[in-house]
Symmetry: C3
Subunit: 278 residues, 3 copies
């Protein structure tokens, strides 16, 4: 099993590489949080670009080191763009991060998410209800038949999504990150619990989306598992640091971006986590 020390070293290397190389990770993402996703990606040292058309998504997928796909606010054009870009990424063996926002609230969304099964996203990031519903949609262990997603919120605990997260990671051969009070990241053979964060993360829109975008940035420089861990760690660290210095969710979001930017590789690696063998 990978040791804590090995994980720490890989996190440090990942953060340093990103800060040095300013890697581009393109996104097809929702319109609610698109600005926050881009700003979070820039804050950790990446470069962001967002598109909607199939051909442009393909161009970004080829030009970028990794791609972020978030199904938050679908438009008709997504019916062409999403399966196309997922296939391109899969065929190029390029890492991509899937955010199955609000899985279950419509047939296009479910159809898109169903098709992603064959294109094996390198990282799947979601809240517990989304992870369980996606596993259900893909007919994997731990999945739920009906989605418990309420709008974009989870109604399940991170722990209840453990089996689904492991099953998804085993299917894709990549990693799964479940966001919640304590975050769970797995590559299908070990589970890491990442601590920290802030209650304000629930009071700003897009904390999960921004994490997905940042994981895509790190996935340009690390394995899906280490990318998911690094992204989760810097978010937990920055949120903890920001919370103590702010008055409410407005100033929290501002300070959170500042702390993302300021976090050193060592501090990110030292953010508290535990490992569990499956």
């Amino acid at each position: 099993m990978i040791t804590k020390q090995e994980i720490r070293e890989q996190i440090i290397r990942t953060v340093e590489t990103v800060k040095r190389t300013n890697p581009m990770a393109g996104s097809i993402t929702n319109m609610v949080t698109i600005n926050f996703v881009a700003n979070a990606q820039l804050a950790v040292g990446g470069s962001a670009a967002m598109v909607y058309l199939p051909e442009e998504a393909e161009a970004l997928a080829k030009a970028g080191g990794a791609t972020y796909v978030n199904v938050g606010t679908l438009l008709p054009v997504h019916e062409q763009t999403l399966p196309h870009v997922a296939r391109v990424l899969y065929e190029l063996r390029k890492p991509w991060v899937l955010d199955p926002v609000a899985v279950g609230i419509g047939s296009l969304r479910n159809r898109m998410l169903q098709r992603f099964k064959e294109y094996k996203p390198s990282v799947i990031r979601g809240n517990a209800s989304e992870i369980m519903a996606l596993a259900g949609l893909w007919e994997l262990e731990g999945g739920t038949k009906a989605s418990n997603v309420r709008g974009v919120d989870s109604t399940d605990s991170v722990d209840s999504a453990k089996a689904a997260a492991v099953a998804l990671a085993r299917w894709t051969g990549g990693a799964v990150a479940v966001s919640g009070e304590t975050d769970l990241i797995t590559d299908g053979s070990v589970i890491v619990y990442s601590y920290g964060g802030s209650h304000f993360m629930q009071k700003i829109t897009g904390a999960g989306c921004a994490l997905g975008g940042v994981i895509a940035v790190y996935a340009t420089a690390a394995s899906p598992f280490i990318a998911a861990l690094t992204g989760t760690a810097v978010f937990n660290l920055a949120a903890t640091r920001a919370e103590n210095k702010v008055l409410g969710p407005g100033s929290f979001q501002v300070r959170f971006l500042d702390e993302l930017y300021k976090a050193s590789p060592e501090d990110i690696a030292d953010n508290r986590f535990d490992i569990e063998e499956i």
Copy 2:
């Protein structure tokens, strides 16, 4: 006539219920201010979710306690989504808030707004020019034939929209909120004037949209009239408090979200207002 004390008690109850139950209010809204709308809804204790497709809008309309509809930046898909979701909401007798942004600048916009007449939005929120133009479009008293809307700005005073607001509220059986220096809220039988706010509200985009979204959150827990009053009161309070502590519109928007979050039920209820019988 309802007394000031009764209004205060209902505002307190509404704010407390929302803070306790975290109700979901979905939105079909414009892309300029969609992030601010969601963050304002979260700040007062609600849950936000935004969609564009007809089927997903229907799902949100059914799942949420109320819905916010803003016609700010129309895309072709809105031609299907908007009348569909309005009819669903009307048939389910679920509260919904209409923001007739920039009424008059295009035929799709006017066609959509015209069709909403039969689906009787529970709350209509707009600036004076928008309220008068909508009343004109619906051929109600106080309406203007041509829209005086300039882009998204009003060129009329709140007072000049009084007859139109009352006529709209009588038609829908709901409430109308006219935003301006002093805000006017009516249910067609009484008018409440709500005081406070800040000149900075004109210097940030989306103050009106965010108010519409917050009124939808309160409409999950109160009558349209009390929801419109509560939303207007917390906005006036938060804006007044924020203005004194900031340097310009950037820090104003941040502080405004903080103050929305911190405002207590009692302070919101105590924000100055006057009642006038019609």
Copy 3:
């Protein structure tokens, strides 16, 4: 050749006129930075309105004093909207600002940008790679055959785009602004270099887009060349002032908007610049 003193006087007049008249400049712009564009336009004293449909873009083009066109995140509807609004603006002899974001990453984008050649945008604003790629697309001097744009970032220096900028300005009869460490603005006969700014401008998304929107606001009250100069000067001034007072990119963006709002006509005119005859 125009003198520094004449330029300073025209900048002061432009800033004062905008602050006094609150002119409307509509936008067709991307969804990543649409909120920041609007807030920057409001901060300098303008009025903002954003649309996507052809008919509504025409209405805004006619109602506004100038229009901002940014091809950042294209949707299918842009295929109708963009050439239509460009032709309307050209025929009305109304100023418009073109932001050729990410030129080269798709065929619709290139087709749109190619068609704009005949509609002669009053101001073209972009980074060095975009300016050179656009000149190439239009088969003008200094242009590059292939685009060096990486996502939305430049890989070329401002100086290397000088010939392309001059050629574009001579073709349109307007002005070109190249954003970079030192900004270059030309009307085809003189070049102005504008100094200041902040390294944080690269760490927030949309600094370029917001500048384009603000130039459109100033273009309602000045020649394309003076509008481009004024917008660039206020951005460099506000960025310099903001940088010293912030902890990271989150607080930088907030403070930058505050400084845009507070900048006096005289201070903007006094922001350091040099003139060079071609």
